[in-house]
Subunit: 346 residues, 2 copies
């Protein structure tokens, strides 16, 4: 009883980001307790003198994960961690998660126990409680919906929109390894599918595989900020890719940026694997995604507190010209920074 | 690379409720801000002097809804409302929702606009803000994940576990109509599939169809409680079915109950439709589900505040013997109350 397809607009013509912007453009912050609505890593709600932070993520088999090479325990761990990462990206501290599952007929109780072992491990590791969720049947495949709740003093919350000209662009950890781990897994899957007697060769890929299958959220960075009494001007976690996520900050903050390619941190193993796949390590680092590192901007005057801190890299600076988003190559040339991030609806 | 099925346990051997209990039995309330975890309509979190309530629901095409007869706008409305219903069932006031979608290739931008019209209408109707969510591709069908956030003064929150012997068992509205609406839609679908020239006959089924396709959450009942300074001892919203949800209250409260069959409110149209389908109206009212009415218990001494209030019915009483859950028939016989609610994983 639905209308047949006349001249409807394919979803691919908009893409994921523009579709959600298009669909939610009416959404305001009308309720007295709503501090921040659509468009950041998490929503912010005022309940008393501390703010509540809420974020949610939907993980779908065949789209966000492939069970051929993803152990269910790792998947449960990752499903929780990527949501905690969104809470940390607000400079908030997560306290609770809910996990809801849609399960198709191919799964057994033991499979779900394995998945929940990963959920439990992540809860223990990050000191959060599992407080809800349910399970229901699904027609095809596994569906995981996770919501994370955190809190913060209002004045410590950090949005995507706070970047100011002169800010240093900083990042934790290194980039590109998770994407390369996925390439290794996909390659071994193809070889196995072509010849079932082939054993997957995964030795020597420890770091990139771990980054793909069992990422961690940067709780330590948020704790470092609190210890050093640092509050970034803007922050986002890198899920789509460094370039795409930096462009989100620029867009929301109405500023431009200069990003120095040769400063982008890439792990030695990732560099080696990129070359094995005939990819430029820096291109992978810019566009790979799923790093779950924190990308943040700090006033230049606070640079001394961050420069030289192990595991934190200054990548460039924010500039006032909002139409100027530049990548500065090692030769000193500038090329426009574009989002080639992992956009799932192409 | 997953183990082959040796002697694994089918999920059907446990069922939805026992599976989620089984998987989450390790989950405690360790974090200092966790007030209430797994096992109620919503989780409760302490952030300052007001408590935050969080609930989440996953709706899957082919399991929870059928797009052959469900207009997308109604679906968007219902997806929000069923979550708000969970917040009201805590005697809390919802303020925000997030909506995440998984969309397969058969959908177009206009379809999602229609769905979001329903989301918007529900947000306006209930005075809540849409504050987040995202969209991604899905392999098959439509997936809707909604999270609702509400708040309450700590002393007004009502759990499933608070029922005490001597409490009156009360319910808002009437039961069974949503289930009957679904039967009508399924019948017309079968007729249409057998002969595509048949036009669906939906006249005369207005009430049961509306209860199925566009349910409302009982905001008015929670407002009535606040106005009358009433705080129920226990409360749940009826999603699984009156009998199943009353058993949830008894189980969590460690009490028994007596439920008088001839007091169960059934709408005239629902009674007529039940007879058309050769069903006992009371059986449908007990087991149908998706009513989204509030089932609550009040100390007997407060009975005078509730008896005679239009739209509220006293169905029976809570008793101390926790192994005695009785249905009292119109002839005065007693039969054990059992959950035949709509359990999706059988």
């Amino acid at each position: 009883m639905r209308p047949e397809n006349g001249k409807k607009t394919p979803i691919s013509s908009l893409g994921e980001f523009r579709l959600i912007e298009h669909l939610t453009r009416w959404a305001g912050t009308n309720h007295s307790s709503t501090v921040k609505g659509v468009g950041d890593d998490a929503a912010v709600i005022r309940h008393g003198h501390r703010h509540t932070v809420v974020t949610t993520d939907l993980l779908l088999e065949g789209i966000h994960f492939n069970l051929v090479y993803t152990p269910l325990k790792h998947l449960g761990y990752k499903a929780v961690v990527v949501n905690l990462s969104d809470v940390y990206a607000m400079n908030a501290v997560p306290g609770q998660v809910t996990v809801s599952l849609g399960i198709s007929g191919k799964f057994f109780v033991e499979d779900m126990e394995e998945l929940y072992e990963g959920v439990k491990l992540a809860c223990e590791q990050y000191g959060v409680d599992l407080v809800g969720g349910d399970v229901s049947a699904s027609m095809t495949g596994l569906i995981i919906s996770v919501t994370a709740v955190g809190e913060s003093e209002p004045e410590k919350l950090v949005y995507r929109s706070g970047a100011r000209p002169g800010d240093l662009i900083c990042v934790s950890g290194d980039m590109g390894a998770a994407y390369l781990g996925l390439q290794v897994l996909e390659r071994e899957k193809r070889l196995y599918e072509a010849d079932r007697s082939v054993q997957p060769k995964l030795e020597g890929y420890d770091y990139v595989l771990q980054r793909q299958l069992r990422p961690e959220a940067r709780r330590d960075v948020v704790e470092f900020f609190r210890k050093e009494k640092l509050v970034p001007n803007a922050m986002i976690d890198i899920s789509d890719g460094l370039s795409s996520d930096l462009l989100h900050i620029c867009h929301r903050s109405e500023v431009g940026c200069r990003l120095y390619v040769d400063r982008i941190p890439v792990h030695d193993e990732a560099r080696k694997v990129a070359e094995e796949f005939s990819m430029e390590p820096e291109t992978v680092a810019l566009n790979g995604g799923e790093d779950y590192e924190l990308l943040f901007t700090l006033p230049g005057a606070q640079g001394e507190k961050i420069i030289g801190v192990p595991g934190i890299t200054v990548l460039g600076e924010i500039i006032s010209e909002k139409d100027e988003k530049w990548l500065i190559t090692s030769g000193g040339n500038r090329v426009p920074l574009t989002a080639q991030g992992w956009n799932q609806i192409r």
